[in-house]
Chain length 235, copies 2
DNA sequence: TTTTATAACTTGTATTTACAAGTTGTGTTG
DNA sequence: CAACACAACTTGTAAATACAAGTTATAAAA
């Protein structure tokens, strides 16, 4: 974990300090010159780290002023790259594994295009139900190609996010993705899972996440109960 | 318009070539060294331009290979920073101005926080209905603070996007923003405007766009008919 | 006291240079 | 012919440096 590029290390340090509240909303980060002195890297490298924080929506910059910590989003930040857990704060999220990871063939009507390698490898399938303040909010169906993932079916997913496990145990990191959103009428199954009131629509999402491993994408279909919460994103 | 920074000029050139099809999906852009030679700027400057294209989702890069043009999104790309018109392709979008820009006071129940300057200045209000292939798809309600915008109420908005006018006539550019999404049951008015079938839910969005002018934000409330189209975004 | 000018900060843009790391085609060698 | 080595590309990371442009506090001038 220690052979990260320099700008990435600084990014991780600052990110942690913002998320844990060492730097609070409205605070100025140390100036780029200070950071480059303290962490012994040049200003362009410091700026590279700060750019990624801006991209995350954790800070914004103002010429002549400095780098300012932003208000953390109060809503569910699934649009951000970091995934649900870190965005909304782990403290509010509980996860039920409805279907533990199992190896299958890809579904016939899979809504995404697959590469040959992915097609051949078969897929790992899992379903989860995620709660905010003990109310079910997310129901997500995930397909990953069955490569790079030895023994994942045996692994326990209790209290760990899928992204955590991929990063810590398989060195797989999400580097981007694309998604589609719709408002739909829920099926009976979805309505029951998410405790939806009659007539309450549901937010439907299809996501394809790109990782640092070639040909390894994470495909998710997500149903979101938007009655009390909203999907939130910055750009 | 010609006093843009260098990296911005190169960005505009490449962006236009991708959107107009000079470079097509899967094509490799000229290498960073070639671009820096042709456009007489250094590689870091070229890379700055390419980074913004990556952020737009127009290209992706591969170490050792090059910069590759991505498939343009077939869906409505409102999550991208460029606004609706450029993302979906102007050719598919027609716009009706339901309410021409008028100067008002801010609504009592306005869902966003306003700065003092914005509060004092009053707001400019407008409503639009946007079509894709002659079907109404977007209904949006926009509030802008009444600063920096002389004579905007007199201006014609026919066949021009709001963002175009702000950029060309007032040098206002969108540099970021945040948004909230929900799936909701439409009101009667919304159902009629968007030609929604009975029971069809609607995607509801609140957006706050940040611009290069301080204290000037664009606040939009958007209703989106997601029956035939989807909101699309890359990250 | 109020206004203005300035100095000392901040981030923004840009150049130049260097090497690391991944990809691809072209050879040479077995 | 096949496998391997290597050269010539590509992008990724990083240093050291310079000046422009915006902000803010302080000191001088009105």
């Amino acid at each position: 974990m220690e052979n990260l590029p320099q700008y990435r290390k600084l990014y991780e340090v600052l990110r942690k300090r913002i998320l844990t509240g060492v730097y609070q909303e409205g605070d100025l980060l140390p100036s780029e010159n200070e950071l480059s002195a303290v962490y012994e890297m040049t200003r362009p490298t410091v700026r590279h780290a700060l750019e990624t924080l801006v991209k995350d929506g954790l800070i914004f910059k103002k010429q002549g002023k400095g780098s300012i910590v932003r208000k953390p989003p109060q809503n569910i930040g699934i649009l951000s790259i970091a995934g649900t857990a870190s965005a909304v704060g782990v403290r509010y999220l509980k996860t039920d594994i409805l279907q533990k990871p199992t190896v299958q063939t890809w579904p016939e009507d899979f809504p995404f295009e697959l590469s040959e390698l992915e097609q051949e490898s078969g897929c790992i399938y899992m379903e989860r139900l995620r709660y905010v303040e003990d109310e079910p909010v997310f129901y997500d169906i995930n397909h990953l190609p069955n490569i790079y993932l030895p023994r994942i079916a045996q692994r326990s997913f209790e209290n760990k996010s899928l992204f955590e496990i991929l990063r810590q145990n398989y060195q797989i990191e999400i580097i981007g993705g694309e998604q589609k959103l719709k408002a739909v009428k829920p099926t009976v199954k979805i309505r029951q899972l998410l405790h939806l009131k009659p007539g309450q629509p549901v937010l439907y999402m299809e996501r394809k996440l790109t990782t640092n491993k070639e040909n390894f994408h994470i495909y998710s279909t997500i149903y979101f109960n938007s009655e009390k919460h909203a999907i939130f994103g910055t750009f």
